[in-house]
């Protein structure tokens, strides 16, 4: 996958944490994901379409989900309820929306986020490389999985 579609996520994760999720964090080195299964139970999923297609999955444990939702909402969230899943969807939306503004191609749309609970509820596109970007907080790890493909320009266009 072209690094020009990965680097924007590094800046975007930092931007979202710095402005709206005030918890200590550290973004790690992106690496190729070796399987097609999410590591953690909570996933916020965004689809991308246009010049670039694919998905972005924000994958995290319940503990990190509660930490991020609490920080975003300025109140303690203790259950994986509708407010928590809505917050994780919003985090996925902000990270993806911010990243796409730095893509080399401008014509890219993002879907509304969906949030699923359970590792086997998340399905990645098959046979396509997935780049995982780890992000550590003091409650655990969030992983941003990026699986994108540039749509080739049709001949003669």
């Amino acid at each position: 996958m072209d690094v020009r579609y990965i680097n924007p996520f590094l800046g975007s994760i930092k931007n979202v944490f710095d402005t709206m999720i005030n918890v200590p964090f550290n973004v790690g080195k992106p690496r190729l994901k070796e399987d097609n299964t999410p590591l953690y139970d909570v996933s916020g999923i965004i689809g991308l379409s246009g010049d670039v297609t694919g998905c972005v999955v924000i994958n995290l444990s319940k503990e990190v989900a509660l930490q991020l939702a609490s920080a975003l909402l300025y109140e303690e969230i203790t259950e994986l309820d509708a407010d928590c899943t809505d917050a994780i969807g919003e985090v996925a939306n902000m990270i993806s929306g911010n990243a796409k503004k730095d893509f080399p191609e401008g014509n890219v749309s993002i879907s509304v986020p969906s949030v699923v609970i359970g590792k086997h509820q998340t399905v990645y596109p098959s046979k396509k490389p997935i780049i995982s970007i780890p992000c550590e907080t003091n409650a655990g790890r969030m992983i941003v999985d990026v699986c994108l493909e540039k749509i080739p320009v049709a001949a003669g266009v």
Partner: protein, 127 residues
């Protein structure tokens, strides 16, 4: 008497975060109305006088662009300032919205300072 603001966003979390962020700015806001899409927003505007609309773009049923057009078409609401709050980053789309008459744009993620600056600029509010 405080300002009345309408927040339009399909995410209840975003509405709650915006509401709390507005409170943190110290601007004198007496009422915050909420709507989860353009249709609901138009209904709220029909029933209430508001000083400012903060609206997302990507929403079900009626998106932000359609809502902006309808607000400016209605003589009752045509003068109500609209600020778009969105992750949308397309310069062309933002320019289109400015040509339609929106007063400003706040990119998500936002800080309390960015919200305060816009409230000061659009409402003339002193914080």
């Amino acid at each position: 008497m405080g300002y009345k603001i309408l927040i339009v966003d399909d995410s209840s979390v975003t509405r709650a975060v915006l509401k709390k962020t507005i409170q943190m700015t110290g601007v004198d806001v007496s009422t915050v109305y909420e709507a989860s899409n353009g249709n609901e927003a138009l209904q709220k505007l029909n029933d209430n006088e508001v000083d400012l609309i903060l609206a997302d773009l990507n929403m079900p049923q009626m998106n932000g662009i359609e809502m902006v057009e309808k607000v400016f078409e209605n003589p009752k609401t045509a003068e109500t300032p609209i600020i778009v709050v969105s992750t949308e980053a397309s310069t062309a789309r933002i320019q289109l919205l400015k040509e339609k008459g929106i007063k400003g744009y706040i990119h998500k993620p936002f800080t309390p300072e960015s919200i305060r600056n816009v409230l000061e600029e659009v409402l003339g509010a002193s914080c």
